[in-house]
């Protein structure tokens, strides 16, 4: 297989990163790492779901008093979190105390784990791009 041009390689890395953000594990899936992508998808989605099960969708509080770093970490799960954020705007689903904290910890940790997977998928795509046939 002929190596991609620099522009195509950059575009490919961007596509892999974007896909990995859109759907957890999708970045590895396009790199034909099916087992890895299934494990990542199941684990990230389950961790995120446990978070919103404990604290309700109210833990996604994009426009409230939640610190920016928690919101940023939650958004790293998938852009769908922004849609959930619009649903919960204006204290529509209030949640306080321990369930709120545990829910925020779970959803933001799931997001940070997905960020790790996005970086890993882009790095794997980069390594694949610089690999010279027979080298």
């Amino acid at each position: 297989m002929a190596p991609l041009s620099k522009e195509k390689q950059t575009l490919f890395l961007l596509v892999v990163g974007l896909l990995a953000w859109l759907v957890p594990g999708a970045g590895h899936f396009v790199l034909r790492q099916q087992k890895r992508s299934m494990i990542i998808f199941a684990t990230i989605v389950l961790t995120f779901c446990i978070g919103i099960y404990i604290g309700s969708i109210g833990v996604i509080d994009l426009y409230g008093s939640t610190p920016w770093y928690v919101v940023g970490a939650q958004v790293m799960n998938t852009p769908m979190v922004l849609v959930l954020g619009r649903l919960t705007a204006g204290e529509a689903y209030p949640v306080f105390g321990w369930p709120n904290e545990i829910g925020q910890i779970y959803t933001s940790t799931a997001g940070l784990l997905n960020l790790l997977c996005i970086v890993n998928a882009v790095y794997m795509a980069h390594l694949r791009g610089i690999k010279v046939p027979g080298g």
């Binding site: 389950l46 404990i54 321990w98 709120n100 545990i102 784990l113 790790l116 997977c117």
Partner: protein, 83 residues
Amino acid sequence: MFLKAIFIIATFIEPEKFGANPQSMLWLLPLVAAIAIIYKATKLPVIKAGNFIKEAAILFGSIVIFIVIAALTLHALAWLISG
């Protein structure tokens, strides 16, 4: 079917009710498992079921043991300071 869907959705719009008690510390276990699984999924060069489970279990155990040691150390320190 529709009723089932409503019940499932309802579990995600009402928070669980529990306080800060010793049992609630067990919520850290699924999180540690998720961290161990994702870390090993990104680090292992080849994913094989047996090896993957073994590696993830070792990491899970290591993290939990470290947390327990840290908790015991802090508890002993607090006991020494407060008498």
